[in-house]
């Protein structure tokens, strides 16, 4: 099974190495044809304004939206969270509006306010996740059907899931954390070869609302 990593810029190699370490074949995605045959996609950290520009330049928006609509798991970390959001605070146009949330960019401030801490993330089990936040975004508004996966001690939301889309503010790929990638790999395996008795990939009617 192969999982793509959007390789326009940013923390690409860290996700590639994390996927390799759990036995998944990573595929760097720079052009639409790179998306062929992948069962999931990771949108890494970096600068969302740079990625927005490059996604448009290399015609990646439609094929990635189609991949998301087909039910393939999509994981966005940091800038990746910003580009999957349906709304960006301040009114920037969304890039891939596949997650019904509003995100706030650079929500903690500048680099001097970057931080790390352990957080509870029950979906991964009892052991907390070591979360590194770098000029990180947060989720300001949750749409219906969006499940919260982790919060800061002050209750602000930093990890969510809506069906096949997971978005987190921090960087598991910098912390040697593999459980989130394992979760994505499990979802990707299910997408690639649905178990008997479950809906075939894409068969489930998809509704992402008027944004699509």
């Amino acid at each position: 099974m192969r999982i793509g990593v959007l390789a326009l810029h940013g923390a690409v190699i860290e996700h590639i190495q994390t996927l390799r370490s759990i036995g998944v074949e990573p595929v760097p995605v720079r052009l639409p044809e790179d998306l062929e045959g992948i069962s999931g996609l990771i949108l890494p950290g970096g600068e969302s304004t740079t990625m927005r520009k490059l996604v448009a330049r290399w015609n990646l928006r439609e094929p990635i939206m189609a991949l998301a609509r087909s039910g393939a798991p999509i994981l966005g970390t940091c800038a990746g969270m910003i580009i999957v959001a349906r709304e960006i605070a301040g009114g920037e146009e969304p890039v891939f509006p596949i997650l019904d949330v509003t995100v706030e960019r650079n929500a903690f401030g500048r680099q001097l306010d970057s931080f790390e801490m352990d957080l509870a993330m029950p979906i991964l089990g009892d052991r907390p996740v070591h979360a590194i936040f770098i000029r990180a975004p947060i989720i300001e508004r949750l749409g219906p059907g969006v499940e919260v996966l982790a919060r800061l001690p002050d209750q602000r939301v930093v990890a969510v899931r809506q069906r096949n889309v997971i978005a987190i503010s921090f960087h598991p790929e910098l912390a040697g954390e593999t459980r989130i990638h394992r979760l994505v790999a499990t979802m990707a395996a299910e997408y690639a070869e649905p178990r008997e008795g479950t809906a075939a990939a894409g068969a489930e009617p998809w509704s992402l609302g008027e944004a699509l």
């Binding site: 810029h9 940013g10 304004t49 740079t50 500048r110 970057s114 931080f115 936040f133």
Partner: protein, 295 residues
């Protein structure tokens, strides 16, 4: 579960987020917006681009804080700014402004010919220049969270940048091929801390991100740096000294991304107008070379 700010992971991590991207020198908020629109992953705020610093002569210092603040207000991407080598008070000022990265830079006139800044003492991360592995590891030992090979800034001539990235990468490969008992002497010879030498030998790479700087003027220059092992590029005078800065900036971003795809590099290189005129690095007298600053 308490939060820790300005850790090594967050300092080094921001550079990791910039990889594969282009960091552009800008001297006004308007330039900064052009850079951001072209797809720059960060900007370096400074008063004059290196070719103008070279032309003006005299002492080059930290930029006016008001100008740096105006650039920080103009864009949402990270903003870096330069302090003179060893001038830790300029660095304190830049930290107080809240810049995202400080470049302790040979492009400015050095303030200390013996010591570099103790970068561990700062909350803001630093990038420093190097010409070889020993220099890179000395800077990392002092706390640099990102490295750039120096090239010869303000020339538009890629030759020194090629020399420095080739030297750095081949020295890393050489360390990686050594027996462990040979690393002590290797550390002594390159005047670098043994622990870092040992780490590079084991991992086959620098412990921090490395970009190439100094002399990139056209998209193919950026792709050359990337093919030689850069993790991203700094472009100084090459953009705003070209005939068409916005197009040149955008083309360099695309060539950095698709550095191993000559068809795309050809495509993005079409019709950019004249690149910066430049000055052959070999014609610059030793005393006017910037890359030799740093110890």
């Amino acid at each position: 579960m308490t939060a820790e700010t300005s850790t090594w992971a967050t300092k080094k991590g921001l550079a990791q987020m910039l990889k594969g991207g282009v960091i552009m020198d800008v001297v006004t908020p308007e330039h900064a917006r052009i850079a951001e629109d072209a797809g720059a992953c960060a900007v370096m705020a400074l008063e004059r681009v290196p070719s103008d610093i070279r032309a003006a002569g005299g002492v080059a210092r930290m930029s006016d804080p008001a100008m740096i603040e105006a650039i920080m207000a103009a864009v949402s991407i990270p903003v870096m700014a330069k302090a003179r080598i060893g001038h830790f008070v300029e660095a304190q000022v830049l930290e107080a402004l809240g810049v995202d990265y400080i470049d302790e830079s040979e492009v400015l006139t050095p303030a200390d010919e013996i010591n570099h800044i103790d970068k561990h003492a700062f909350k803001v991360p630093f990038v420093c220049g190097c010409r070889n592995l020993g220099e890179a590891l000395r800077r990392i030992n002092e706390g640099a969270a990102m490295i750039r090979t120096k090239g010869e800034a303000g020339t538009g001539d890629i030759v020194e940048a090629v020399r420095h990235i080739r030297t750095l990468m081949s020295e890393i490969r050489r360390l990686a091929s050594m027996r462990e008992d040979e690393l002590f002497v290797a550390a002594k010879e390159m005047e670098a801390p043994y622990d870092l030498v040992k780490q590079v030998a084991a991992e086959g790479r620098l412990p921090v991100v490395n970009f190439v700087a100094g002399g990139i003027a056209i998209p193919a220059d950026a792709a050359l740096a990337m093919q030689l092992g850069a993790e991203g590029v700094f472009v100084g005078s090459g953009i705003f000294k070209s005939e068409n800065p916005a197009k040149t900036a955008e083309a360099i971003v695309q060539a950095t991304l698709h550095f191993d795809n000559p068809k795309i590099i050809a495509e993005v290189s079409k019709g950019l107008g004249s690149p910066m005129r430049g000055i052959a690095a070999a014609t610059i007298p030793e005393a006017e070379r910037l890359a030799v600053r740093g110890w």
